[in-house]
Amino acid sequence: MSNKLSRRSFIKASLITAGAVAAAGVTRPLSARASGAELCTLLDLQQCIACGACVEACREVNEEKFPAPEGPMPDMIPRNKVKIADWSLTEKREIDDRLTPYNWLFIQPAVGEYNGEEFEINIPRRCMHCRNAPCSNLCPFGAAFTQNNGIVRIHPDVCMGGAKCKAVCPWHIPERQSGVGLHLDLLPQYAGNGVMYKCDRCYNRLKEGELPACIDVCPENVQQIGPRNEIVEKAHQMTKEMDGFIYGETENGGTNTIYVSPVPFDVLDRATDKGSGSPHLGPAADSMASANTMALATIIAPVAGVAGAVARFLSLGNSDGGGKEGQNER
């Protein structure tokens, strides 16, 4: 992982860290985190020095949740459509520069030029924990779900590894590990293909009143966590002070991960390597908007049904030749 630190980001990080520590506003009171209120994280991208402490801590505390495939991978059918995704080999497990089932957080570097000045910004990337998450809404088995505190999780004992969550996620965050999960006990070759994994915001640590590992260990206090309304307010305050930009507040209808940067996110997006396991920073429209508009149809439908029957009854009255009821309905 890169340890490069530009002079500009070092000075800014030092000043902001000092200010933040002095104000003791970096962490929220334990009661706020455990209360079940919608929690949101705020990441000040000026402060990240890409030391990798968050990535390491994430891997360490979540190790027990990582997949543990046993035996050979199933021979999937059809082979050319269903690819095995095996990240369990030692060399693949150690990959930490992209998202994998064994690496739920990575640092995405963005190097470029903005307003005639060179920049080097490091972006911790993981699940955005969307407010109305398509992965959670569209999972056909209920394996993906959203907690009341805004954490979006995938339950490894229920997930079939169909990767629908990855397909509908605007950032394609969840990653598959084949050869594990419920599908092995059902129709291993014909349905499912492992389990999908992603950041669960250390839900178990939060439940115990602790901070998520990535926030807890960060030496630069890049992240804050707290009730969403407070975090959004802070994000706007910070962008005003630094003349910066926000990402995550409105993307995909709003997420519970908000990035603040002195460089616009479309510039950062162009300056990052994107691809499988390396999400973009581009625009993301509300992916559930059309499905939720369709929900109106379920309200209109019964009203239309009743109105239709009444209208037909009134228009035909009792004069309809109803003496032939002997005919059966199919």
Binding site: P78, V168, S290, M294, A309, K324, G326
Partner: protein
């Protein structure tokens, strides 16, 4: 109103049921894996967002038809001369189950609505089971020509 359903109603019911079942399987997701989305004209079935939208629309049409038929039955005394067959009652129950759980799933998708995981699993599996059994019951009724209703 006549006890014999209007032809248009039968066509709409059949089309909505087939579409709801087809897109239901597409939501699983199966059509991308098993080449259905590769067929000309069915590429849309591999797109989960189109699939879910069509699924909701088809389900809404079934809901509309169900409420139409129920209201008509209550209003028209001549329909009371006929009774639901066992096959009709089974299909009606399964359809009602599929529709009720389907509505809960639509509600679940709205912003700010979060159900616990256990509830979600119950809804999902109840919806799938009811729809599958409805499909089987519907096919059997079609093959063995079992009507919904019969004259008393």
């Amino acid at each position: 109103m006549n006890a014999k359903p209007h032809l248009l109603l039968k066509i709409l019911y059949g089309a909505a049921a087939v579409t709801a079942l087809f897109t239901g399987f597409g939501n699983m997701p199966l059509w991308g894996r098993y080449y259905v989305a590769d067929l000309p004209g069915l590429e849309w079935s591999g797109d989960f967002f189109i699939n879910v939208n069509v699924h909701i629309l088809a389900g809404s049409l079934l809901l509309c038809i169900a409420t139409y038929v129920l209201t008509a039955t209550m209003m028209d005394e001549r329909l009371r001369n006929s009774r639901m067959t066992l096959s009709g009652r089974i299909r009606g129950f399964l359809l009602a189950m599929a529709l009720a759980t389907g509505i809960l799933m639509v509600v679940k998708n709205l912003p700010g609505v979060h159900f616990p995981m256990a509830t979600l699993i119950v809804f999902n599996f109840a919806h799938m089971t009811a729809a599958l059994l409805f499909m089987i019951a519907g096919l059997l009724s079609l093959i063995f020509r079992h009507p919904w209703r019969q004259i008393r």
